[in-house]
Amino acid sequence: MADENAPMEGQSSNFADIGKEMWSFLTGRQAAINYQFVDLKIEVPRSTGAEAPRATWLLNGTLRITTEENAAS
């Protein structure tokens, strides 16, 4: 009997893969992703390393992502 917690073949290993799988899952399910940013502060490193200088990005507003299904010929 298969262990449900065991990693599956082709399991996602980074954000890009997770995003693609999420997109595939949501497509056609009329799902919506709503983000509301309120003074979201992101520190973006200028280079690699723990002591790297950082830029600050601030986000305020809303972002709504839905999917639209189309029949492909």
Binding site: A16, F37, R46, L59, T66, T67
Partner: protein, 142 residues
Amino acid sequence: MPGRTGRLVVDADVRMVLNGHPAHLTGTGQDLRVTTDAPADLWTELTRAELPSGIGSVNGPRAIGRVADELDRQGISVAVVGPSGELVRIGARVSSRLGRIVTGSAAVTFGSARTVAPTVLAVVKQSATAVVDRIRSRWRRR
């Protein structure tokens, strides 16, 4: 039987301040717009970001081409608008030979020379200043 494909539909109203440089992302449906008063500063800020290896670097025109191709696949177009007008449009419903040459993707088209020139000159000036500063800094350390 026909297959089914999905496209992203986005409703955006996000104000961003990237290290002091404001920009505004707006749009409904599949056409988005980034408006900024200082496109050269915004470009410099974006290209200086160091992203995790899983996402990849955003440096250089080729990276813009990659983003444009991905947006094209999702049916989304993004226009970047500066004080002098539309500078660049990437993604869906865009086709440009110049874009393919510069970024590797035909899904990138540039605004008119008059619109784009001030931003290109400002980016070149900022890049040159950064190079000179780096050389001076190394020279002082010797």
